[in-house]
């Protein structure tokens, strides 16, 4: 098991020593390794999304008593690959009245920001690309940039549904960012660090979900809203806004938005696993299998909620954040602080 545990770290070290033997300076070798790591992340994300989309369609089918995709391959497993090829070969339609530059760059900005989130996620023991000193803060602040991309999409489309959808998305994401950050603060207070590896090490004995159950629930609700997923998918409520900010997009540009949503979903679930479920810690299996397993279990709960609960109204959504979630997270913070002070 020892070999399997450090497989990727050994591989990275091997690449670096090989590059240095070829006459590269250590700095250049490190940069080459970084590029390789980013390519790996992009590959992982793409493969992961192909599986995720198939899984979500299968699960929604199960919940609605249908079969879901079932034609291509066993259990329809190649359906997403066929869809991806279809999307790649579609014509790139740009409506004539759009704000061309903004319309074109919005999906790229969105996917780049989602990929940037993966820089700090520890996929295994010592397997984060950068174990930043303030990884959690990085995650929150880079995640907050996604609103700009949605706003660009909504504005650039020059379509009233797109603009309304973008405005809803941005209002929702800005409101729910506050409870999201506050619920993570409880964990940070117990761990005493913003570094992902420290937070995981602090959960050696007991997972933070048992010490901070309220924070986990508020984090989960806020993350659902932040991801614009059902039951909080007001920004793309099909019945009233066609597809929200994505109305005018088609082909690969639309697919990039779709990709980015699932990329964010995995990032947020991995973050929940790191903050509340002990990250890569687990028995028997190597650490780089435990984090995906935990993230997938959390994602299954996201799917389950989306396909079970009805959508809620926009004004209820906003007042729920400001009048319920934020006070609850604040009280949780005060209680956590008092308990930490008394039991220090």
């Amino acid at each position: 098991m020892r070999g399997a545990e450090t497989f990727f770290i050994d591989l990275a070290r091997l690449i670096v020593t090989w590059l240095e033997k070829q006459g590269m300076s250590p700095l250049v070798a490190d940069i080459v390794l970084l590029v390789i790591q980013f390519i790996c992340i992009a590959a992982i994300v793409t493969v992961n999304i192909i599986i995720l989309i198939w899984l979500e369609r299968k699960i929604s089918g199960f919940i609605q008593q249908r079969l879901g995709p079932n034609r291509l391959g066993p259990w329809g497993i190649f359906q997403t690959i066929a869809d991806a090829i279809k999307l790649l070969t579609k014509e790139d339609i740009i409506p004539s009245q759009t704000d061309k530059i903004i319309f074109r760059t919005a999906p790229i900005v969105f996917i780049v920001i989602s990929l940037m989130l993966y820089v700090v996620i520890p996929f295994g023991d010592g397997m984060a690309i950068v174990d930043l000193n303030m990884g959690v803060l990085y995650f929150i602040s880079v995640g907050s940039l996604g609103t700009i991309a949605l706003l660009m999409a909504g504005w650039g489309s020059n379509n009233k549904w797109s603009l309304l959808g973008a405005m809803r998305a941005v209002a929702q994401m800005i409101s729910y960012e506050i409870p999201l950050a506050f619920s993570l603060l409880g964990v940070i207070m117990i761990a005493g660090s913003l570094k992902m590896s420290d937070i995981i090490a602090a959960q050696n004995n007991v997972w933070f979900v048992f010490l901070q159950p309220v924070a986990f629930i508020t984090y989960f609700i806020a993350a659902t809203a932040e991801l614009n997923r059902g039951p909080f998918d007001m920004p793309e409520a099909e019945q009233e806004l066609t597809a929200g900010a994505y109305t005018e997009y088609s082909g690969m540009r639309w697919a990039l938005f779709f990709l980015a949503e699932y990329t964010n979903l995995f990032a947020v679930s991995a973050m929940a696993a790191v903050m509340f479920f002990g990250g890569w810690q687990g028995p028997w299996l190597p650490s780089w299998l435990w984090l995906p397993i935990k993230a997938y279990i959390i994602m299954l709960v996201f799917f389950w909620l989306k396909w079970t609960l009805p959508r809620i109204r926009m004004d209820h959504l906003m007042s729920f954040s400001w009048k319920v979630l934020i006070p609850v997270t604040l009280v949780n913070l005060v209680v956590t602080g008092c308990v930490l002070q008394f039991f220090k």
Binding site: L27, D99, I101, I102, L132, N133, M134, L137, Y138, I140, S141, V142, S144, L145, T147, I148, L151, M152, W155, L163, M167, V170, I174, E177, L194
Partner: protein, 167 residues
């Protein structure tokens, strides 16, 4: 020319070009988006200087929230033709140029007359811990006063936005 300098000049170029875009572009929504790029560029320079906490807060507060509020306000209040909406055109540009030059002159003067004494090379490993101890220790009163001030501003804004008759 070594790596750190190249990184700095790239960041500075992005920031300055984006800042020029804020002033010069005719469409005010494009200006606002350029402003986001300026904020991100400044955050990059903070990272380059080792001020990682300030850089992240710059992204979180300015690029992620304040610029969105600016774009929101523009979108909700704009009633003119958007392609010619940036008010930096035409009127008052000479006055603006004079004031900008005066301000730049003051900044250059203050940079020139500051004696830049270098302390011991600071330890970058735990900048956030040091900031926390300073904010919650030596400067806790200033920190709390700022919080009360911001709370007052928020309440004032809500009262102004609600209007008088609905009280």
């Amino acid at each position: 020319m070594n790596w750190p300098y190249i990184i700095f000049y790239v960041l500075a170029a992005v920031t300055i070009i984006a800042a020029l875009g804020v002033v010069a572009l005719p469409n005010i929504v494009h200006s606002a988006l350029c402003l986001v790029l300026t904020f991100v560029g400044v955050a990059g320079i903070y990272f380059y200087l080792g001020a990682d906490f300030i850089g992240l807060v710059q992204i979180l507060a300015y690029a992620g929230a304040i610029s969105v509020l600016i774009i929101f306000a523009i979108m909700l209040l704009l009633s003119r033709e958007v392609s010619e909406s940036n008010p930096s055109h035409g009127r008052g540009k000479w006055k603006a140029a004079i004031f900008a030059e005066l301000f730049a002159f003051l900044i250059i003067l203050s940079i020139y007359f500051t004696s830049w004494t270098h302390g011991i090379a600071p330890d970058w490993t735990d900048s956030i811990g040091k900031i926390a101890y300073m904010l919650m220790g030596d400067y806790v009163i200033a920190f709390e006063v700022a919080a009360v001030l911001l709370l007052g501003a928020v309440i004032g804004a809500i009262i102004l936005a609600r209007g008088e008759d609905k009280r």
